[in-house]
Symmetry: C2
Subunit: 207 residues, 2 copies
């Protein structure tokens, strides 16, 4: 006999417990410890609580096809599909500036494969950079747990030259990018890196 | 006999045709002509194509509970729930500045009911304003088709004084806000209003 709530609704596990996840693209890490996404969400919560910045992850875009409206309970989506994101995952405001970024993790030890980035996201980064936004990608190398901030202009440059090479060498990311301090609170202190890279007076990346 | 694709999958209407919509809150207009959301999406597409600004609507947040992975076709979300948005619906970058807004329509002729705005959204607006973002609400009065831009500081002020009054009189919106030009391309020219209100040299609202 199925277990039922007092109102007659059958018992089911709460959404939080049984939460499904979008399948991750190949070559991206997930499933053990904290994912890069979780670490960045935690950093963003920390920054918000400390009144440092307002940065949120955008919800996963889904195409909703069928919705049930059961009596006396919340609407249930019964058929929906994952959509390709047309922008990056994170944006917000820091020190008055618009910031916009994507976060990617790779198990590859020596390079970052460009297939991790979608064409739409690169187009979005081009537009954001044009309009004076601070735009970058956070790359975590899973094996070493190192995180780098790479300005969008470098990513776009490599992306547009994939006929030459379909990945960015880690040594190039070390040279062109900036290592991000990791720790406990916040797990990934990317605002500290932004301070050094984009707000240091000579504003070397904001060209 | 059900119609099938050559790969054996049963034929079903494409997501675009059968698209379901989140039920709209009471006192919000939908169902005839273009919704406010559609008009703003169109304006944003226009601005993007004209390289004026990069502004996107955030996807509707859903809590995904169950996903099927049928062979040889896309993952299907079989159980999901609408979540309360924790931010406003729109944000982006314009003339280097972070802009962030919510859009609401009312059938009420003489006032804007504050129940249209959620507490989380007001908190988000407070944070954005603190960090130097341009934050506002676009309000359309359905009957007159007039659209007004009201800076977040005024909305927050009324929101915090709901013991006095649970809505903002239209005459107050006319006095404190700014009417937005409507037309064909774009349907709602809110960037023109931003130019006048936030980028006019004396920058009267950016305090």
């Amino acid at each position: 006999m199925p277990i039922r709530y007092p109102n007659g609704q059958p018992y089911s596990r709460s959404p939080k417990q049984g939460q499904a996840k979008k399948p991750l693209p190949a070559d991206t890490y997930s499933g053990r410890g904290m994912t890069l996404e979780q670490d960045i969400d935690e950093a963003n919560l920390y920054y918000l609580s400390q009144q440092r910045a307002v940065v949120h992850k955008k919800p996963t875009p889904v195409q909703i096809v069928k919705v049930d409206y059961p009596k006396r309970s919340a609407a249930v989506i019964r058929e929906a599909y994952f959509k390709q994101a047309s922008t990056t995952d994170y944006n917000g405001v820091y020190r008055g500036a618009y910031i916009d970024f994507e976060a990617k993790e790779t198990k590859n030890k020596t390079s970052f494969p460009l297939k991790n980035i979608h064409p739409h996201q690169v187009d979005h980064m081009r537009e954001v950079s044009k309009h004076g936004g601070i735009c970058f990608v956070l790359i975590r190398f899973f094996q070493s747990a190192e995180v780098f901030l790479l300005d969008a202009k470098h990513l776009i440059d490599y992306y547009d030259n994939q006929d030459v090479r379909k990945s960015i060498k880690k040594t190039e990311i070390e040279r062109l990018g900036h290592q991000v301090k990791t720790g406990l609170h916040p797990p990934i202190d990317y605002l500290r890196t932004l301070d050094a890279v984009y707000f240091n007076g000579d504003a070397k990346e904001r060209t």
